[in-house]
């Protein structure tokens, strides 16, 4: 039985990424080529003179913005993960005030726009407590925002672990802390890795909203360059590429981790 021609577009195993072989390389290049052609066509239809030199003069501003976005994202990732963890445990806590605090937190943050949260947090709450540093406030509000989502992801992950795992752990005499530490979290972490990675990528992109309180991160700096040079696309195309450059490693890294954590193999 000979193979049909369309078999070079198919793969056997849909559970894993396709293997590195000429066929998948060909497909990857093909799709990439089609997308590029599409973009090239769209841009060729554009009546727009590109003036890259104007933007090039501001390259250090782009780099500073990129650096600031990286720094803000890094701290926010860290803090939001800790907040997410604490509030997930709060939601699972036997202590009712902790439970309600965690529920209110999640519902309020998830139910309101980040834009409003940033404005209210910076101009009302932080102001009332005499915190005027917009970078510190920015990291705090971003962490609170992402933390709510991460806490829901972690909580759902904890809920997805079967009752017998808890009972077995308890029957062995593990403390509650040890149960979480050695039994539940290692399994939860593997399960929530994909949504967690997605959330971290969102966090990096959401950090651009801090521009409204004049945190000079990547997006604000690109917008400023646009304002100085009136070169919109020349400012925003590097912006998009810059974000891609920082978010792609996260997706890549999470895929790798997923593989490491797969119990089956």
């Amino acid at each position: 039985m000979g193979k049909h021609w369309y078999h070079c577009f198919l793969r056997e195993n849909t559970r894993e990424a396709p293997p590195r072989c000429p066929a998948s390389l060909l497909n990857a290049l093909l799709v990439g080529g089609v997308l590029l052609t599409l973009f090239a066509f769209a841009f060729s239809r554009l009546e727009y003179d590109f003036h890259w030199h104007g933007v090039w003069a501001y390259r250090s501003k782009f780099l500073q913005g990129l650096g600031m976005t990286l720094v803000i994202s890094f701290f926010s990732l860290f803090v939001s993960f800790i907040l997410g963890l604490l509030f997930a445990l709060g939601q699972k806590s036997r202590i009712l005030p902790l439970y309600f605090l965690s529920r209110y937190y999640v519902e309020i943050i998830r139910g309101t726009p980040l834009l409003v949260q940033i404005l209210v947090f910076f101009y009302v709450i932080a102001n009332a407590f005499h915190v005027h540093n917009r970078y510190v406030t920015g990291v705090m509000i971003l962490s609170l925002f992402a933390g709510a989502y991460i806490s829901e992801i972690i909580r759902a992950g904890i809920d997805s672990i079967g009752q017998t795992q808890w009972e077995t752990g308890r029957s062995l005499g593990l403390t509650r802390f040890q149960l979480y530490r050695f039994i539940i979290f290692p399994q939860v972490f593997k399960r929530i890795l994909p949504p967690l990675a997605g959330q971290l990528v969102s966090l990096i992109k959401d950090s651009s909203l801090l521009s409204i309180i004049s945190v000079s991160e990547f997006t604000l700096n690109a917008q400023e360059v646009n304002a100085y040079t009136y070169s919109t696309l020349e400012s925003y195309i590097p912006l998009a590429l810059g974000y891609l450059v920082i978010t792609y490693p996260i997706s890549h890294w999470s895929k790798k981790l997923e593989k490491t954590f797969a119990y089956e193999t």
């Binding site: 554009l46 009546e47 727009y48 003179d49 003036h51 404005l119 101009y123 102001n127 005027h132 917009r134 521009s211 409204i212 309180i213 004049s214 000079s216 604000l220 917008q223 400023e224 646009n226 304002a227 100085y228 040079t229 009136y230 070169s231 919109t232 696309l233």
Partner: protein
């Protein structure tokens, strides 16, 4: 069958709405967030001095006018990519902008002014050019460009919205907000307890407002300049000032400060 015909007819209407008369409609872009020049009335229809001007221009050219509400820093890109035919949005003529668009002859002068925090030690624009001073500006405005060029020692925080700049000054996070005289005046009146204003002009030269058009259309440029001349001669600007700015004009005159909408 009838249903299908109905939908075909409807979609036809929809598409024709997009395409019809593309040739002669005059598409004017402005940010409807700067009363009384560019704003919307209570029904949400565009209104204000620039809007009236646009309709007068359309009448002069014999072309129907379509107003597009576009954020200020999106105006020039929209013009450059052909989404609109001109910008009438209280836009100051600057050298940098002139590199990417062509301006008509100026139709109005303008000044920058300062909104200051009540407790800030700043008294004049010179005081701002020091280490440790913080200035709030709205992104892409002449205030932003002025601060960047003339006040390099100060820290400049850039915002999307005028309201955020005002809040920064009110809360003392910034010493000053640099913006046009009329806005500063209105905001100072609104926040009289927490702010002060410097309304006297401090720039070496006035700012001039012009109508921006794409480069390389001398015919339209000529028509627009001819219209402005004609409109000025027939007292059109006085009529508009009377209609929209009578109260402000009076207050400014009583304060002895030159009023900016004076062609």
């Amino acid at each position: 069958m009838k249903k299908i015909l109905f939908w075909i007819g409807l979609s036809g209407l929809f598409f024709s709405g997009c395409l019809s008369g593309e040739k002669d409609v005059l598409r004017v872009g402005m940010e409807l967030a700067y009363p009384p020049f560019e704003m919307t009335d209570t029904n949400g229809t565009p209104a204000g001095i620039s809007v009236d001007m646009a309709y007068e221009l359309g009448e002069y050219l014999g072309r129907p006018v379509q107003i597009s509400n576009i954020s200020f820093d999106g105006l020039i890109p929209s013009l450059k990519t052909g989404k609109i035919d001109m910008i009438i949005s209280s836009m100051t003529i600057t050298e940098e902008r002139s590199r990417s668009v062509t301006f008509s002859n100026p139709y109005s002068k303008a000044y920058l002014a300062l909104l200051l925090n009540r407790d800030s030690p700043v008294e004049s624009v010179e005081d701002l050019n020091k280490k440790g001073r913080v200035i709030a500006v709205k992104k892409g405005t002449t205030g932003h460009l002025y601060a960047r060029e003339k006040l390099p020692s100060a820290r400049i925080n850039v915002f999307d919205k005028e309201s955020a700049c005002v809040l920064e000054v009110v809360q003392g996070k910034a010493d000053a907000f640099i913006y046009d005289q009329m806005t500063i005046f209105t905001q100072w009146q609104k926040n009289i307890k927490t702010t002060r204003a410097v309304l006297e002009p401090f720039q070496d030269d006035f700012e001039y407002w012009g109508i921006a058009m794409r480069k390389g259309d001398p015919k339209l440029h000529g028509q627009v300049n001819a219209f402005l001349l004609e409109f000025k001669k027939s007292g059109g600007f006085e009529r508009l000032a009377e209609k929209y700015l009578s109260k402000e004009k009076e207050i400014f005159e009583s304060l002895g400060i030159p009023f900016f909408f004076s062609p």
